[in-house]
């Protein structure tokens, strides 16, 4: 089961067809499956497809008359129904043998899957799958029939053309220009071959919540490249009042991006003495005037608030009503912004309402009983096929939560019960429904925030969950993409969806690499934040002013609170550059 015959390449599934199916297609053309269209029955709405000529037909094997058989197949050529058993007599195979040629391909009546009686194996075909999905869709949109998938398209999902990468080396004139206009950084201590930009941040009095997030942001590859390539120059920033800096102009507008720029310059200057992000704290407090006292600060809240601050400035300045999900509005959203898709399906009629929401991080529940999640159970059953069940089971018995498990939990189908009925546009009444989240667009940098926090409003109590969460160093996000989720909802049929088109157009692979982990130790109201950074595949611990080198094991065993993953493509470029410097 685990052997991969058809590897999906960049979201595209490549099919290998059996010779009999190829022959069948050659004889009948694409029309072959069109006749089946009227026989496809989908019950209930959104459910699985079956093949019945008449809705109340009770098919039975033409050879033995068995109707309760679990595997009944109808010949695609002559519609003869026969049963099949992997061992012993197969009337389906006998039927294929009885005629000289062309009766090998049959269809599974209960599962609507193609079966080759000669190969005795299930076979897959694109056109057939498309026909099944069409039937499933028309069953879920009973009377409507207006659009196939009523999905409002966010404006930013238009195909974007990418520019090819061209390496650049300065020519003589450019080199002279560069030399005359810049002062090269003098390497402080060349004996220490440490990555650029490693610098401790002074604790300004319980500000480790800020330092921890800043360290992660300072080493976020796309963010770092943006600021270090002078894309936001604080001396020419349009957002500030007439060049007056806030030191002598208290009422000057704050620009957090300018403060970020200043901090990047300071941290990448080569100076290794701890830096005090005092100006940044001051500006951030001015921006988030309503986020009062620093004593009770949460690193995640700071993260959201400061990205929001960078975004807001650009918004005001640009005078253009960018949507946040657009991702083109400001550097904060260009790096962190993704789009979540939420589907709510009415359980009565199957009408699905889809909404898209921009997000700059994903907050995940630390589920106490992750073993009971439906997909985890399915994965476990799949694992047992691989003979690796014991390892997984033992880890489940020990109750280890995993980031992958949390993501499965996040994208699993959720039943909204009678207390949370939603208004179905088609039924025109409030109905029970199924809800499912998925990721429509992946950001360049994915930040996962683990809700290590339980708050009971009834008991006025809060507590921190100290449980360990396993997180991988490499993460494949493809199972959580809308295209994958949607496909699995239609029984993993291959069909061209708009989600697939999007995946192909963005061209970004869904593989991510971990580059920063913000950890929290201690209790709810008295704890400490520390960040682990991965630079040139070496881990560094940034504990306020102290930067130390640590073993990978320490990071793997740490209690993660926020995990920062960057698209693998960008990660390797980053390490190369770091290694070269």
């Amino acid at each position: 089961m685990s052997s991969r015959i058809n590897q999906p390449i960049n979201g595209q599934i490549i099919l290998q067809s059996c010779p009999h199916l190829a022959e069948f297609r050659a004889i009948n053309g694409s029309k072959a499956f069109r006749a089946l269209q009227d026989c496809l029955r989908v019950k209930p709405p959104g459910g699985r497809a079956a093949i019945r000529r008449d809705p109340h037909e009770l098919p039975r094997c033409g050879a033995c008359g068995d109707f309760a058989h679990s595997r009944l197949y109808a010949c695609m050529t002559c519609a003869a129904v026969s049963c099949h058993a992997p061992t012993g007599s197969s009337h389906a195979a006998a039927h294929a043998d009885s005629v000289p040629v062309g009766h090998e391909i049959a269809v599974d009546l209960d599962r609507a899957e193609l079966f080759c009686c000669a190969c005795r194996d299930q076979v897959y075909d694109r056109d057939f799958d498309a026909a099944v999905v069409l039937a499933q869709n028309s069953a879920s949109i009973l009377g409507g029939g207006s659009s196939r998938l009523p999905s409002p398209q966010p404006e930013n999902l238009r195909k974007r053309r990418r520019v090819d990468y061209r390496p650049w080396t300065p020519d003589l004139r450019e080199r002279v220009f560069l030399g005359s206009c810049s002062t090269p950084l003098d390497c402080v201590d060349p004996s220490l071959d440490l990555p650029w930009g490693l610098r401790g941040l002074n604790n300004l009095g319980n500000t480790c919540f800020m330092n921890s997030v800043l360290q992660a942001l300072l080493h976020t590859p796309p963010l770092r490249n943006y600021f270090l390539s002078d894309r936001h120059n604080r001396f020419f920033c349009q957002n500030k009042n007439n060049g007056g800096n806030a030191g002598n102009n208290k009422n000057g507008r704050v620009c957090l991006a300018c403060d970020m720029d200043a901090m990047f310059s300071a941290v990448f200057s080569g100076d290794r003495t701890p830096y005090s992000p005092a100006k940044f704290l001051y500006s951030w407090w001015q921006h988030a005037a309503n986020l009062a006292s620093y004593e009770q600060q949460d690193a995640h809240e700071f993260f959201i608030s400061m990205l929001d601050g960078i975004h807001e400035k650009v918004e005001k300045n640009g005078q253009k009503p960018h949507s946040q999900g657009n991702g083109d509005c400001c550097i904060a959203h260009r790096v962190f912004s993704g789009i979540l898709r939420s589907d709510v399906m009415c359980m009565a009629c199957g009408f699905t309402s889809t909404t898209y929401d921009p997000c700059i991080d994903i907050s995940l529940d630390l589920e106490p009983n992750q073993g009971s999640s439906s997909k985890a159970a399915a994965a476990a059953s799949n694992r047992s096929c691989n003979g690796e069940a014991d390892c997984k089971n033992s880890s489940q018995n020990r109750g280890i939560s995993t980031l992958v498990g949390c993501l499965e939990q996040f994208t699993r189908v959720e039943r909204l019960g009678p207390d949370q009925k939603f208004f179905c546009q088609q039924c025109q009444v409030r109905q029970e429904s199924l809800k499912q989240m998925s990721i429509r667009k992946l950001p360049l940098v994915s930040c996962f925030h683990i809700k290590r926090f339980e708050h009971s409003s009834s008991r006025k109590m809060s507590r921190k969950v100290d449980r360990y969460l396993q997180f991988p160093l490499s993460l494949d996000m493809s199972p959580y993409l809308s295209s994958s989720i949607l496909r699995s909802r239609f029984g993993n049929r291959i069909f061209p969806s708009d989600e697939d088109e999007l995946d192909a157009s963005t061209e970004f692979p869904s593989e991510f690499e971990l580059f920063a982990v913000v950890t929290h130790s201690g209790k709810l109201d008295a704890g400490h934040y520390v960040t682990y950074l991965r630079l040139s595949n070496q881990w560094y611990k940034c504990d306020d002013a102290w930067v130390t080198q640590v073993d990978e094991d320490i990071v793997r065993a740490a209690q993660g609170y926020m995990m920062f993953y960057v698209q693998k493509m960008l990660f390797y470029k980053a390490t190369e550059r770091q290694g070269g410097s």
Binding site: S2, P8, I13, P44, G47, R48, L58, S70, R111, Y124, L192, N203, L204, G205, R272, S276, L281, Q286, S293, E295, Q296, A299, H300, I304, S305, D308, H311, P358, C359, I360, S374, A379, N382, C385, C391, K392, L434, K435, E454, H455, S457, Y468, S474, D476, R489, N492, H520, G522, L524, D525, G527, H528, W546, T548, V550, D551, E552, V555, R556, Y561
Partner: protein, 225 residues
């Protein structure tokens, strides 16, 4: 052919079966939410209706087990067919890699928990990778951007809080108007778990601060509890 006989079987054993099917349906819903077993139920009712009269003699339990095995068989083929498709289309996740990561983290935890080979000497108040050592409270002196007074780095935040007129009183009437709040999503049903933007209580966050009193007195060492 007595019609009442068929009806009898249909009414009594159908009740048993519909209960059974309900259970199965819940089971199948959990595992394969978008697949339903209702199809089988409609099949069954047809089968039950067409059971010939001679079968009337057969005990219900025999009939039950016969149907049970059929359904079980069918479900097994369902699952097999589903995973056959996943495997053939290459849609299965890379479980080997996930397994490897799990193994590595389990090993790491064992090693870190073992005090004998602890290579990290608390990390703090020792030399960092640059060969520097730092005081517990940062002693860099700079002038406050708000009032211009000279202030020590490690005491800057508490100073600035007072200087900018923030603090306890202000905190009590916290209302969040950040656009972030509007852009957040939530998984509808988690009413009682976590709501970072409820703005209701200041304890609704993981905090790094020490107790409020210590923070206000600027006492030494409170920065690192």
């Amino acid at each position: 052919m007595s019609r009442s006989g068929t009806v009898f079987i249909a009414s009594s054993s159908y009740l048993v079966f519909s209960r059974f099917m309900q259970k199965l349906e819940i089971f199948s819903f959990r595992r394969f939410p978008w697949i339903s077993i209702r199809k089988h139920r409609s099949n069954l009712s047809q089968i039950l209706m067409s059971v010939p009269n001679e079968e009337n003699a057969a005990s219900h339990s025999q009939l039950s087990s016969h149907f049970f095995l059929d359904i079980l068989d069918s479900i097994i083929v369902d699952v097999a067919s589903e995973y056959h498709r996943i495997a053939r289309l290459g849609l299965d996740r890379n479980l080997e890699e996930e397994e490897e990561e799990l193994k590595l983290s389990a090993q790491a935890r064992v090693r870190v928990a073992d005090p004998s080979n602890s290579n990290e000497v608390n990390g703090k108040y020792v030399v960092d990778i640059f060969g520097q050592t730092h005081p517990p409270v940062a002693n860099e002196i700079f002038s406050c951007m708000n009032c211009g007074r000279s202030i020590m780095a490690g005491r800057f935040a508490p100073h600035l809080e007072k200087c900018m007129g923030k603090g306890r009183k202000a905190r009590l009437k916290v209302t969040r108007s950040s656009t972030a709040a509007q852009n957040r999503y939530s998984r509808g049903n988690q009413v009682s778990t976590y709501s970072p933007y409820s703005g209701s209580s200041s304890t609704n966050r993981l905090a790094n601060g020490t107790s409020g009193v210590a923070g206000e007195e600027y006492s030494n060492g409170t920065s690192e509890p």
